[in-house]
Symmetry: C2
Subunit: 349 residues, 2 copies
Amino acid sequence: MTLPDVAVTEVADPLAEAAPTMELLLRELDRRWPREAERLHQISRYALLPAGKLLRPLLLMESAEAVGGGGPAVVPAALSVEYLHVGSLVHDDVIDGDTMRRGRPSVAARYGTTDAIVTGDALMLGVFGVLTDGAEDAGPLTGDSAGPPPDRVLGAVRVFARAGVDLCRGQAMEGELRGDLGCGLDRYLTMIALKTGALFRAACRGGAILGGGSPAQQHALTSYAEHLGLAFQMHDDLLPYTSDSRTAGKSALSDIAAARPTFPVLLCHAMAGAPARARLEAALGGALPAADALGTVHELLETTGALTAARDRATAQADRAKSCLERLPRSRATAVLAAVADLSVSRDR
Amino acid sequence: MTLPDVAVTEVADPLAEAAPTMELLLRELDRRWPREAERLHQISRYALLPAGKLLRPLLLMESAEAVGGGGPAVVPAALSVEYLHVGSLVHDDVIDGDTMRRGRPSVAARYGTTDAIVTGDALMLGVFGVLTDGAEDAGPLTGDSAGPPPDRVLGAVRVFARAGVDLCRGQAMEGELRGDLGCGLDRYLTMIALKTGALFRAACRGGAILGGGSPAQQHALTSYAEHLGLAFQMHDDLLPYTSDSRTAGKSALSDIAAARPTFPVLLCHAMAGAPARARLEAALGGALPAADALGTVHELLETTGALTAARDRATAQADRAKSCLERLPRSRATAVLAAVADLSVSRDR
């Protein structure tokens, strides 16, 4: 179980109920990526293991279960959403020049740019092999050779491909917004719906389709995922200002250095009067040393009320995510999904 | 028709018969990538248009037709193999630092590394959207709303995903072989079967599956593609030594500078006696200025007979490709495929 223990014990019991699912995912991930000689395989293994939180695979498993069709048959699809996520992170680290990921050297730092690009490609393309080989691969695991029916698998392929392209659109848009404090909250929200929301949507909608959910159930889980994605990213943007940066694993300095417009900063820009806005722009314009800039930004986020407003909006999105679950039959799975929504705005990293 | 005119008139009439297919592909490619505001879309359009030879889409179309199931219904799948190809070229140019592609600035040179990585990702991921949306999208074009049946589309997704991963394996392996003249022909042939062969195989096998070919027909077209891929890459490696580099669009100097072991060079290394081998290693070891190295390599390729041997082996692969076609009913499509095999070892660029 790689979800942080503190969250599991503090937030709710339902997440503890996800433990068997997490163990299944971890066991299967390890089985599929043995230590092998081929370089590309080795690097892929390095990128995937030790695994991260496996949040997206968990969402897929629980979404499938929430509509009555989860279990081992959807494990390959669940892992494939992780490949898509990790493949995009590997490329992200090339793009941003990030040398650390999950507390150890990024693929780019450890193996170089060339292998990082190629490995990211292989992970992303492999998604669709794993999705469509599901029927065969799930066999030995389940003792049941039948994976999801072909029309459901095709539906999942379509959803994953769309999510992958949306993720790229979000990344391209993020590049355009860089340094643009005046981009406005709307464009920022569109960007994070694409960049962060896409894979949450793929996981939940894909799970609902593979699990045989009705159109209404698919819709409910898609909406859940969209609100969850917003809540998750809004909270992520808040982390540097609400917990010490070592715990957050990500520093406000890095956001400032990269001139990344983040949720609280954009809210602050929108809420502030002219003088505060001018100070914010100066702080983020590279005029001050980064540490001083951070102090100024933090102070402005507090005094304008932006920090509180951002926190409230993130919580509201998590609440809306949970309310979407009311359209589904109450089950262990929906309780886990609700707990994930709570966790998305309470985690400290 | 973007295949070089000289090849069409010199080689055979059958290729001229591919003209309507090529026109269909070009029209559809242009329709699907209108000029739009979104940056990622613009860059994708720049990468795709003006189109290259569209050789892989043509192979898919003709393979489908060869088994009795071609036409507009498989156009989306045909275009998707081009997206996979172009996406990988966009990343290749980032990796190799190439600033030119098809006679104009590469995506990386024109838009920068970040957008090139993201655009390549979007093209590769988009493949699976186009493949699975085929049924809907082919509708207006064909006046027939039914695309290929779901089981065939799933088969094609599986083949494309596998091909995509193989392509990456080939690229990673190419990196490993760089500078290693002693890597041996076997490893080189494995590498090009992955790197170049993968997409030819995806195109032909994918076409055979989507067109409803029998397992024997699928196998025949897969074998055709594998031999074609070898012939194509062997000839590609020969181009710098058999035509002037401007026509070839690729220079021997670049292969030498990148310490890329190529087919004639590896053959030469295997065939040469100790003194010639020592001279070859010195020339490719960076000891000489590139132009002098090229002169020496060229001379050694001639005197050891490696150039002739390489040409013979490429032709033999093209012949084997053609012989695979005998297992299919004779048709316009098989004539085009045979002509492509001839072209693969007679083109001068």
